[in-house]
C-alpha cells in the first residue's frame, strides 16, 4: 500500500511487535497514520486508494475521519506507543536532564519562514537546563540553520523518515525514544507529534515561542490546534493533564494484541 506506511519505520516497529521480521514488514492492507494530525489521520495530500482501510491512532481521529467521509478507519494506536511499551525505561540509562526542543519544521518542498535567532533567545531564556535541538533532516542538512542552533546547544537529528520505501531509517523511532528519555522536558513552538511522543515518554511538555509559518500556510488550522488543546500549550502546562491528553491522542488503551494486529493489518498469523 502507500509508502507512507514505512515512514519513520512504523511498519517495521509493528512487524517486530507482531513477531514478524522487522527488516521486511509485509504489505499493510491499508494506510497507517504516520503523524499526529487534526484531520482524518491521513497526511495532507496522501493519494488515497478508495475503499482502503485507514489505521488511525485515536478514537477521536476515527470519529473525525468518519465525519470527513472516511468511514473505513480502525483505531490501532500509534506505533510509537507499541515501541514505548516494548522498550521499558531502564533507570540505569541515567538521570533525565534539560530539554529537547523541536523547532517547527516543514516537509520536503516546504519552507518555514521565521526568525530562528529570536526563537533561540526565547528558548534559552525559558528553559531551566541545557537544550538539545532536534532538527528535521531538511534543516539538519542545511549548514546555515544547523550552525545557528549549534551555537545555542547540542543539535541532533533522529534520521530520515524515508521516501518511496528508500532510505527509510527503520531505527528513527528507537532513536527518538532514547533521546526523549534522556530529557526532563520536551518543547516546540507548535503542538506536534514530537510533543505527544515526549509527553508519553515521561517529559514535561511545553509549546511556546514564535510558531513560525510555512510558505502559503493556512493559519486557521494552527489557531484551531491552540484552541482545542490548551492543556498542552504554554511554557509550563500541567504535566498530568498534558500526559492524559497525549496518551489519548496516541490511542492509549486501544493498542491491539499481536494476533489482533496481524489480522487487522492483513498480515500472516
Amino acid at each position: 500500500m502507500h509508502h507512507g506506511n514505512h515512514f519513520y519505520g512504523h511498519a517495521q516497529v509493528l512487524a517486530a511487535y507482531c513477531g514478524l521480521d522487522p527488516d521486511d514488514p509485509p504489505r499493510i492492507d491499508g494506510y497507517l497514520q504516520h503523524g499526529w494530525n487534526v484531520v482524518d489521520g491521513l497526511g495532507a495530500g496522501t493519494p488515497y486508494a478508495p475503499g482502503s482501510a485507514i489505521f488511525v491512532w485515536s478514537e477521536r481521529t476515527r470519529r473525525r475521519a468518519w465525519s470527513m467521509g472516511r468511514p473505513l478507519a480502525t483505531v490501532i494506536g500509534a506505533p510509537f506507543l507499541y515501541l514505548l511499551r516494548s522498550e521499558p525505561d531502564s533507570p540505569a540509562d541515567g538521570e533525565r536532564e534539560g530539554t529537547i526542543w523541536y523547532p517547527f519544521h516543514g516537509w520536503e518542498g516546504q519552507r518555514v519562514t521565521g526568525d530562528h535567532l529570536r526563537l533561540i533567545d526565547e528558548i534559552t531564556a525559558t528553559e531551566p537546563g541545557p537544550v538539545t535541538f532536534c532538527l528535521y533532516w531538511q534543516e539538519y542538512s542545511d549548514d546555515r540553520i544547523r550552525a545557528v542552533y549549534e551555537r545555542a546547544g547540542r543539535v541532533v537529528c533522529h534520521g530520515y523518515r524515508g521516501y518511496m520505501r528508500h532510505r527509510t531509517d527503520a531505527r528513527f523511532l528507537h532513536r527518538q525514544l532514547a533521546e526523549l528519555r534522556r530529557h526532563r522536558r520536551v518543547a516546540s513552538n507548535r503542538l506536534s507529534t514530537a510533543i505527544m511522543y515526549g509527553t508519553v515518554a515521561g517529559c514535561d511538555p511545553a509549546v511556546y515561542g514564535d510558531p513560525m509559518h510555512l510558505t502559503g500556510e493556512d493559519t486557521a488550522t494552527a489557531e484551531r490546534v491552540r484552541r482545542e488543546w490548551p492543556e498542552l500549550h504554554g511554557a509550563h502546562p500541567d504535566p498530568g493533564r498534558a500526559r492524559a491528553t497525549a496518551l489519548a491522542e496516541l490511542g492509549d488503551g486501544h493498542l491491539a494484541s499481536p494476533a489482533e494486529l496481524r489480522a487487522v493489518l492483513g498480515w500472516p498469523a
Partner: protein, 496 residues
C-alpha cells in the same frame, strides 16, 4: 355439527399450542367440564382432556373429523351457533377469537365473541383467553401485510383495524366490564400461537428486565430460525423488554378471567414461565430478599437456583462495537473466551466480570466466536473494523481481540440458523454497491499509479542504457556494429 361449519376448509395456519400452554392446561382443576374453543394442538387438547370432560369447538369440518383425542366431544360450526349456556367450568380460547367464526352467518366482533364465551361459562367459571397484539413485535417484523392476507381463512382480514383491546391493562379493564374480572394476565412471547415465554406485566415492569430481555431474545431465536423478517426479532424483543415495553409489544396477551370471581379457583400465573430449547420448563419467581429465582418444572436440575443477573453478552458486545469501545469490546471477548468459549453469545449473561449461562440446557457450539463474527459482519452493525468484510478474517480479528493465541475454529460453511432479515438485505446491497464503486475507483487509482511508475521505469531504462559501460566501450560497440553491417553487405553482394 352445530351449524355454520366449513365443510371444505382445513385450518391453514398453525393452531395454538406449545409447552407453556400445555403446562397451564395441566394446572387446571381436574374433574371439570372444559370447552376448548378454536384450533389447538392435539397435545394440548390431550393435556386438557386428562381427567377432565372436554368439548372441542372447531369451525373446520375436515379438522373436526381428524380429532384423535378419545373422550372428546366435538362441536363443529361457528361460535354464534353454540348454545351450551352455563355448561362449562373452564373455557380455553388460547387461539383467540378470530378462528371461531365461519363465512356462514354474520361475523361477531371481538367483544361479541367474548360475550358468547362468557355465556357458556358456569358462574365462577374460568376463561383462558389469548388476544393477539396487532402491534406486537411479531407484526413489526412481519414482511407480510395482514390486511392483504390471501389465505382461505382471511375473508375479512382486519389486522390492526380490529376491535380487540390494544394493551394488556385495557384487556383487563374490558373483560372486567364484561363481568369477567381478570385474575391473571401474561404477555406472550415470541409468537402468539406458540409461546415459550410468559411474563406478567408487573414482572415486565419491575422484574429482572435484563434477564427477561435475554430470555425474550433466546425465545425468539428458534421461533424465527431461517424465517424471513423485516428486522431481527431477537433484538427487537430484547430491546422492548429491557426498555420496559415487554408487556405492550408482546405478540399476544393471555388473560385468565372468572365469571364472578371465587377465590382459589383461578390457575395462578407465575411472574414468568419459560420453555428452553431442550424441552425444559422453568418458572421465575421472586425470592425472599428481592432476588429472582428459577424453579424447574421439567428438565435439568441445574436450572434451579438464582436467575443469573446481568445482560445478554451478545447485546453487550454489539453495544461496545457500536460505541467503538475497543477496550470494552476486548474485555468482553476476553472474558467470554476465558469463561465460556463454546457457549453462543446469545446464551451468556454478563454481570461485571461474571459470565453465566442463561440456559444451561441449551447446546454448545465450537464455533461460537465465528457466529458472533457473522452477526457483526452481516447484522447491520457499525464496528471497529469496517474494512474487514470477510467473516473468516473478522473471526481472526475477534480471536486476537479476545487474547487467543491460537486461531479459532473456522466459520461454518453457511450461517443459516438466524432469521433472514430483509433490512439486512438492503444494507448488504448498499454495502456491495459501495464496495463496487470503491473497487472501480481503486482500479482507476491504480492505473494512474501504474502509469506514473511506467513513466519512471521508462526514464530509468533510458538512463541505464545511456550509462551502461564506459565511453570507450560504447564507441567500440558502435564501431563493431558498423563493421558487422559492412561485412553483411559485402557478403550479400558476393552471393549475387
Amino acid at each position: 355439527m352445530i351449524g355454520g361449519e366449513m365443510p371444505e376448509y382445513a385450518e391453514e395456519l398453525p393452531p395454538a399450542g406449545g409447552p407453556l400452554y400445555r403446562t397451564l392446561a395441566e394446572r387446571l382443576p381436574t374433574g371439570v367440564r372444559v370447552l376448548v374453543a378454536g384450533p389447538h394442538e392435539d397435545a394440548l387438547v390431550r393435556a386438557v382432556a386428562d381427567r377432565r370432560e372436554v368439548t372441542l369447538l372447531l369451525r373446520s369440518a375436515p379438522d373436526a373429523a381428524r380429532v384423535d383425542a378419545r373422550d372428546v366431544r366435538v362441536l363443529c360450526g361457528t361460535l354464534s351457533k353454540v348454545t351450551d349456556t352455563g355448561r362449562y367450568d373452564v373455557v380455553v380460547a388460547l387461539d383467540g377469537t378470530g378462528r371461531l367464526h365461519s363465512p356462514e352467518g354474520s361475523a361477531l366482533d371481538w367483544a361479541e365473541s367474548v360475550r358468547v364465551l362468557k355465556r357458556v361459562l358456569r358462574p365462577g367459571g374460568t376463561l383462558l383467553l389469548a388476544v393477539e397484539n396487532e402491534l406486537g413485535v411479531h407484526r413489526l417484523v412481519d414482511p407480510g401485510t395482514p390486511t392483504a392476507a390471501r389465505g382461505g381463512g382471511a375473508w375479512s382480514p382486519l389486522g390492526e383495524f380490529g376491535s380487540a383491546p390494544g394493551r394488556p391493562d385495557r384487556l383487563a379493564a374490558v373483560l372486567g366490564a364484561e363481568g369477567l374480572p381478570v385474575t391473571g394476565l401474561a404477555a406472550v412471547w415470541p409468537l402468539p400461537e406458540h409461546p415459550t415465554l410468559l411474563a406478567t406485566p408487573e414482572t415486565l415492569r419491575y422484574g429482572p428486565l435484563d434477564a427477561l430481555a435475554a430470555l425474550a431474545s433466546a425465545a425468539a431465536a428458534p421461533a424465527y430460525r431461517k424465517r424471513s423478517v423485516l428486522s431481527d426479532p431477537r433484538r427487537l424483543a430484547a430491546a422492548a423488554v429491557r426498555r420496559g415495553l415487554g408487556a405492550e409489544l408482546a405478540p399476544a396477551w393471555l388473560a385468565v378471567a372468572q365469571l364472578a370471581a371465587r377465590p382459589g379457583q383461578a390457575a395462578p400465573l407465575a411472574p414468568a414461565l419459560a420453555a428452553g430449547p431442550g424441552g425444559s420448563i422453568s418458572e421465575v419467581v421472586g425470592g425472599p430478599d428481592g432476588a429472582w429465582l428459577r424453579r424447574v418444572l421439567h428438565g435439568p436440575e441445574e436450572l434451579n437456583g438464582p436467575l443469573p443477573s446481568g445482560r445478554l453478552l451478545e447485546e453487550r458486545l454489539l453495544t461496545a462495537a457500536l460505541r467503538h469501545d475497543l477496550p470494552g469490546l476486548r474485555r468482553l471477548l476476553t472474558g467470554w473466551m476465558a469463561e465460556l468459549p463454546t457457549v453462543p453469545a446469545g446464551n451468556v449473561l454478563v454481570d461485571g466480570d461474571r459470565y453465566a449461562r442463561l440456559d444451561p440446557s441449551a447446546p454448545d457450539s465450537e464455533d461460537a466466536l465465528a457466529w458472533f463474527a457473522y452477526t457483526l459482519a452481516t447484522g447491520g452493525y457499525h464496528h471497529p473494523w469496517p474494512a474487514v468484510t470477510d467473516v473468516a478474517r473478522l473471526t481472526d480479528v475477534l480471536a486476537g481481540a479476545a487474547g487467543l493465541t491460537t486461531r479459532p475454529a473456522p466459520p461454518p460453511a453457511s450461517f443459516d440458523e438466524f432469521p433472514d432479515v430483509r433490512r439486512q438485505h438492503e444494507e448488504q446491497l448498499d454495502a456491495v454497491r459501495r464496495r463496487l464503486a470503491d473497487a472501480e475507483d481503486r482500479i482507476r487509482f491504480c492505473e494512474a499509479e501504474l502509469g506514473k511508475r511506467e513513466a519512471e521505469l521508462g526514464r530509468a531504462k533510458t538512463q541505464i542504457a545511456a550509462f551502461s559501460g564506459s565511453l570507450g566501450y560504447r564507441a567500440a560497440k558502435a564501431g563493431l556494429g558498423i563493421a558487422r553491417m559492412a561485412r553483411n553487405r559485402i557478403r550479400s553482394r558476393g552471393r549475387t
